[in-house]
């Protein structure tokens, strides 16, 4: 459920008094997305679901995940060495 994909905010739309909208770039495809639930600025990544940004994508956390993965790799490498 809940197809959501990450996109980069290009520009906030300040023209309307209602919803906070922004142009969001999804890998070359641009769509108007409601961003009023996230505290994000142009350049930030958001996860958009059904036309609304449900969360900001935390790039720092992404890096932490990848660092954790590297540790798994190292751990396995060591384990591998030990086993062989």
């Amino acid at each position: 459920m809940c197809l959501a994909i990450p996109g980069r905010i290009i520009k906030k739309d300040t023209s309307t008094d209602g919803l906070t909208m922004a142009k969001v770039d999804f890998g070359g495809v641009i769509k108007d997305i409601c961003i009023q639930w996230v505290d994000a600025s142009p350049g930030d990544y958001v996860l958009a679901h059904a036309g609304v940004a449900i969360t900001k994508v935390d790039e720092n956390e992404a890096l932490l995940t990848l660092q954790d993965f590297e540790k798994i790799g190292e751990y396995l490498d060591n384990m591998g060495k030990n086993e062989i």
Partner: protein, 346 residues
């Protein structure tokens, strides 16, 4: 003498009215002012119920397609060149040299003349590029609301090259699959214009006739088994059809299939799969593995073939199925889509 007031003259209607399809003077003027000059050729000028065409002993290929695209004009083309290119490509798929086209127009009352003119001139241009002539035609006008601006049917005749046997039946184990370019552009381009699903994209329709590619290929490679244009239903439908017609299985390599980033992104946004998206300027070639690299070079050297790639191979397998090796080296069945592909929320 007393002159009385009268109306302004109307030298011409600026829109199509029903009378333009009535078979009378207005129809004649449509033909002589617009169609005949645009498509001028000695066959069309016979002004007969049909065109009389010279042929020599041999085999003909004959095909037809109707074009109902909405919007009429889209980045990269319009319904006019689409209608020419689509039928030329279908002829090319038969391994023939395309020669003659027919054009049947169904026009909604009220279509602005300017629109029609643009479409007709695109058709004329596309026909010229593909080296085909429009030799016979027909125009019907229907009441407002009874068609969507304009529909075009083109049928086409080509002469089969001697010694070529191109047919979906010919796919055989050991053959490779070559695609002539990046897939999905036409379908995504059209989808981007939809009212409630639309988005901004730089993706342009790929509409083109691929005479260049097919000529280069056939003149250089002695054996080509199948040529197909993966239009409606995309790569998956076309290759599934070939697999089941020729009773072979086909295995694609996900990583080899050329797709532009923008097409990928649009597909992810709407939950669609590029393998199922329509193309209008892409060809699939199936030919013996031994000619693979040579063929690829010939295709890549053609103006429309720069992004060609070898994307898979035919295997001798009873199941007659289409599968794809994913980036993780796993095999996945690629089924034919059922009905239209629908955008997903989940």
């Amino acid at each position: 003498m007393k002159y009385t007031q009268c109306s302004l003259p109307k030298s011409k209607y600026d829109r199509i009215i029903l009378g333009h399809g009535g078979g009378g003077k207005l129809t004649q003027s449509l033909l002589s002012d617009l169609f005949f000059p645009a498509f001028a050729n000695p066959f069309l000028n016979q002004q007969h119920d049909g065109a009389i065409l010279p042929v020599h002993d041999g085999r003909l290929a004959y095909t037809t397609d109707s074009f109902v695209v909405d919007p009429l004009f889209f980045p990269g083309g319009n319904i006019g060149d689409l209608a020419i290119n689509g039928t030329v490509n279908d002829l090319l798929c038969c391994g023939v040299i395309p020669h003659y086209l027919s054009a049947g127009f169904i026009i909604e009352e009220g279509l602005p003349f300017d629109i029609l003119k643009k479409i007709i001139s695109s058709m004329a241009k596309a026909a010229q590029e593909a080296n085909v002539v429009i030799v016979t035609g027909d125009t019907k006008v229907v009441e407002r609301g009874k068609c969507d601006k304009i529909f075009i049917n083109t049928s086409g005749i080509g002469v089969v090259r001697p010694d070529t046997q191109i047919s979906p039946l010919n796919a055989q184990p050991g053959d490779v699959i070559i695609v002539s370019g990046q897939i999905g552009a036409h379908g995504i381009c059209i989808l981007s214009t939809r009212d409630n699903l639309g988005f901004e994209t730089t993706v342009k329709s790929d509409t083109a006739s691929l005479v260049d590619i097919v000529e280069n290929l056939l003149s250089g490679v002695p054996e080509v088994h199948v040529i197909r244009d993966p239009t409606r239903g995309g790569l998956s439908s076309t290759l599934n059809e070939i697999a089941s017609t020729a009773h072979v299985s086909i295995e694609l390599e996900e990583e080899q299939i050329p797709v532009s980033e923008a097409v990928c992104s649009a597909c992810e946004l709407l939950g669609l799969d590029p393998l199922y998206i329509a193309n209008e300027g892409i060809m699939l070639f199936i030919l013996p593995g031994k000619y693979a690299e040579e063929a690829l070079q010939l295709i890549r050297n053609s103006p429309h073939g720069k992004n060609a790639a070898i994307i898979g191979r035919v295997i001798g397998d009873e199941k007659a199925e289409l599968s794809m090796k994913t980036s993780f080296g796993r095999k996945r069945i690629i089924d034919m889509v059922s009905g239209e592909q629908l955008p997903r929320i989940c």
